[in-house]
């Protein structure tokens, strides 16, 4: 479904991604792991068309995404829920969700709004509130709900557990499992190595702008180097 080969990107004279290769198949959860500053968010920005790649190729659903605009990428069904949520604080919960269907699935807006409210009853309770006044967990729900409004083929979640209490992190991962259970392909970009590997079918560990380790989640989890670096074992 998504196939990234030899992806190179950066800002100004700084190169952040130095040849990333990864793929996500239909129906999978793929974890992209790595600590702060290895280029995970840059990778997402390139995939969504906000940063132009300098080299390599991105293929989604059989066609190259190089040179396509963010709007075209959204229309193709590659939807990202960004790090830091980036919801619209000055707008209501309903308006935030409505804008999720701005670039795709606009016709099914009413139906999908109901679906999102079924998934997140909490958001329905907050429907008239300004998004900026929601708690961190609710804002994360809103960001994911907004992403679901576009009927994604592949959903990229960038650090969905960041800044949430341990209990909410559990809830968030359970939700990701449920969404995937309904057939949605998910690329989970996380620092939370342990819980992400429990959920994912495959994983990529990014270090210094390149994939340092990849394979089945179980294999990656058993890697002695990973256990030393990320788990302190």
């Amino acid at each position: 479904m998504l196939e990234v080969t030899g992806l190179v990107a950066g800002y100004g004279s700084t190169e952040i991604l130095r040849g990333i290769d990864l793929r996500v198949e239909a129906g999978e959860i793929v974890a992209v792991l790595g600590s702060n500053g290895v280029g995970k968010t840059t990778l997402n920005m390139v995939l969504s068309g906000l940063i132009e790649p300098r080299g390599g190729d991105i293929r989604f659903d059989g066609r190259s995404l190089k040179g396509t605009s963010p709007a075209e990428i959204v229309a193709a069904g590659l939807i990202q829920v960004p790090e830091g949520r980036r919801i619209f604080p000055n707008m209501g919960v309903r308006e935030n969700l409505e804008l999720g269907s701005y670039g795709r699935a606009r016709k099914n807006r009413a139906k999908n709004l109901e679906k999102v409210f079924d998934t997140f009853p909490r958001l329905k309770e907050r429907i008239g509130q300004f998004a900026g006044t929601l708690s961190g967990g609710e804002q994360q729900m809103l960001a994911i709900g907004r992403g679901l409004m576009a009927e994604p083929k592949l959903l990229i979640l960038d650090e969905p557990s960041l800044g949430l209490s341990p209990l909410l992190v559990e809830e968030m991962f359970a939700l990701i499992e449920r969404l995937n259970g309904a057939g949605l392909a998910i690329m989970l970009v996380e620092q939370n190595v342990v819980q992400s590997l429990e959920l994912a079918s495959r994983a990529y560990v990014v270090e210094n702008g390149a994939v340092a380790l990849s394979g089945d989640a179980a294999t990656v989890a058993a890697d002695p180097e990973l256990r030393r670096t990320y788990l302190g074992l």
Binding site: S48, L50, A75, E95, Y102
Partner: protein, 290 residues
């Protein structure tokens, strides 16, 4: 001392004029709120719109009010094109460049107007330019009443558009969260251009409403923009409600200081308010904290 009737009449007339000022300020604050730049070409574009009204009236004989729908569409397209083809590409995404580009635009537009129309001050006389409504003991200029009505109606339409339509919502989304908006498939460059177009459309309507009572020359824009800028600061940068309320307040203040200090000092009240706002409440009445 003046009688209460004279003061109230001046106050009402001030509020009526203030509504049109508010419309000019609305365009300025909308562009600021979304693109986060001060559009220095705002005044020159207003002058251009006023000359367009004048010319159309002289050549085709269309009443300024009848011109509103046409001029609005033309100026929307003009603003859209300016942002999409000139300001956006020339700025390379840097705010300070946008400032300079709009400043340059204002110089170009003003000089084109000078070359085309000369520096004379002109006015457009209609049947109703000097007619008045008698409301109880008060005499209200008809053109001012129509002007205020048109300005408030335009502001209400704009508010409806921004709060109800998908494009309007996209504009508000881009104003606060550009990246988040892009990730929903909102084309930010298009939204910027639509916003700039709306700002220019406000000016076109304001020009149609102003001309039956106010004169025009190629440099007139700066007079309005100074007032509009005060309104924007008073109301809060980027706030639409603030611009409307600020416009009415400034109109009333101008009229009151004109009455008590003499016409030539009428604008002094406006700048006292400007300075007081900056000193006491820099965010304005409805402005967000920086």
């Amino acid at each position: 001392m003046y009688s209460a009737d004279i003061i109230i009449e001046a106050l009402i007339n001030g509020l009526l004029t203030g509504a049109i000022y508010a419309l000019v300020a609305l365009g300025l604050t909308l562009v600021y709120g979304v693109l986060h730049i001060i559009n220095f070409a705002h005044g020159a574009l207003l002058a251009a719109a006023m000359f367009a009204v004048l010319l159309t009236n002289q050549v085709v004989g269309l009443d300024p009010y009848v011109q509103i729908p046409f001029l609005m569409v033309i100026f929307f397209a003009l603003g859209y094109g300016l942002q999409r083809l000139v300001i956006g590409p020339a700025s390379h995404g840097r705010d300070e460049n946008i400032l300079l580009v709009t400043l340059g635009l204002s110089i170009v537009i003003e000089n084109l107007l000078l070359a085309g129309f000369g520096s004379d001050t002109r006015s457009l006389n209609t049947d109703y330019s000097f007619a008045v409504f008698e409301v109880g003991p008060y005499l209200l200029g008809q053109a001012r009443v129509f002007g205020a009505g048109g300005a408030l109606a335009t502001a209400a339409l704009l508010w409806l558009f921004l709060s109800r339509s998908d494009t309007g919502k996209a504009i508000r989304a881009v104003a606060k969260e550009k990246i988040g908006a892009s990730l929903q498939g909102i084309d930010v460059a298009h939204v910027y251009a639509v916003t700039f177009g709306l700002g220019c459309a406000c000016l076109a309507v304001a020009a149609c409403l102003l001309l039956p009572t106010f004169y025009v020359n190629p440099k007139i824009g700066s007079a309005y923009v100074l007032v509009a800028f005060t309104i924007v600061v008073l109301g809060g940068m980027g706030s639409i409600v603030g611009a409307m309320l600020g416009g009415l307040i400034i109109g009333a203040v101008e009229s009151m200081s004109g009455l008590f200090l003499g016409e030539s000092l009428g604008q002094i009240g406006i700048f006292v308010i400007f300075i007081l706002t900056l000193l006491l409440k820099p965010t304005g009445l409805f402005g967000a904290k920086a």
